[in-house]
């Protein structure tokens, strides 16, 4: 009798834990599903302009001052378009890195920050984080055009206004991988590795 109870107990634990693993996996998959279908609709699987394509052109007012910021037109420098938000901790972590990139790569690169939302909040963020050295654009247009779903996101455009690399950026390494991808002429470092293995 005791043995039977013990075996049933062990079996029940296994069943409970397996059910919980299943529950977690389902919740995770639902999360991924929500992410895929929002906010553009289920059929919108394309994620914005592809690498190699010309960037949409934007001519938007800067957050501070009366200047305008042009994105996507051919020029003498490449452009790093960095999507951020005042409420995103990882974006804040990357600001010093962007600052150093802006200094060391200024011969060939201009860094533009872009975000959307309420102006007072962004002005406070701009002042507090001391972002005067960057053009800062407050508009939802670039985010919609590039289908930015997660932050921080970066798009690297070459001097001809073509997309050379883009992606979610969580660290210095990922940011630098965009530049590496440009140098090597591949869409992403991952693609380069895949080609080598193929």
């Amino acid at each position: 009798m005791n043995e039977a109870l013990m075996i049933s107990n062990v079996l029940l634990w296994v069943a409970v834990l397996a059910a919980l693993v299943g529950l977690f996996a389902l919740a995770r998959q639902i999360g991924v599903l929500y992410e895929r279908v929002a906010p553009m609709g289920a059929l919108m699987m394309d994620t914005g302009p592809k690498v190699g394509e010309a960037s949409p052109v934007f001519d938007l007012p800067a957050l501070v001052g009366n200047t305008r910021v042009t994105i996507g037109r051919p020029g003498d420098k490449s452009t790093l378009l960095f999507f951020l938000s005042p409420t995103c901790p990882v974006c804040k972590k990357l600001l010093p890195i962007l600052r150093s990139v802006n200094n060391t790569e200024k011969d060939w690169l201009r860094v533009i920050l872009t975000s959307d939302g309420e102006q007072p909040e962004h002005l406070a963020f701009y002042e507090k984080a001391d972002l005067k050295e960057f053009p800062y654009v407050l508009s939802s247009e670039p985010g919609i055009a590039y289908r930015v779903a997660k932050l921080p996101y970066a798009v690297l455009l070459n001097e001809h206004g073509r997309v050379v690399a883009k992606g979610l950026v969580n660290s210095r390494e990922q940011l630098e991988s965009l530049f590496t991808a440009k140098e090597m002429g591949v869409a992403s470092v991952q693609e380069f590795i895949d080609h080598q293995h193929a």
Binding site: W13, V16, L20, A27, G31, Y34, T87, P89, K92
Partner: protein
Amino acid sequence: MDTLALDPVLARACGAALAVVLLTGAWQKLRDLAVFEASVDIYRLLPEALVPLFARAFPVLEALAGVALLFDTTRSAGLLMSLAVLGVATAGVIANLLRGHTEIDCGCGGAEGHTTLTWALPVRNTLLLIVAVLGGQDGSGRELLWIDYLSVAGGTLALLGIYAAANQLMANHPRLIQLRN
């Protein structure tokens, strides 16, 4: 407290599960301290000068609480520290919920670290507080058999599974709302 709550199997399972939750939370914060510091700053509750100090002290206390809960001799200290850690975190969340500053990352581990502030967080933390109180008990002196250890292990894993699933569902929720609109 009834006899069920004082049974050592329940107490040890709760204590071990909470210890894992606290230790994982502390590890996630310490692993990327700059991000946690930014999260604390975004809560807008502390003077700027105190943010770096708090961002370092909080995960250390969290880790100490987690370790202390695991051992008989330090259990009561572990209980006090976990109540302090959970209490401070919950107070921070409630303060921001009350003033409507909710579109921020909770910085609380959670699934993928993309959980915004909702009232589900204080509810979750209240449940964790109850688990902390149960896990902080010594339990009755009942002698444990080998099957009890199986129950403790199973119970710990089950609690952690429920916690992970709840966190994931909480992270999904804002996306569902977005989809409905």
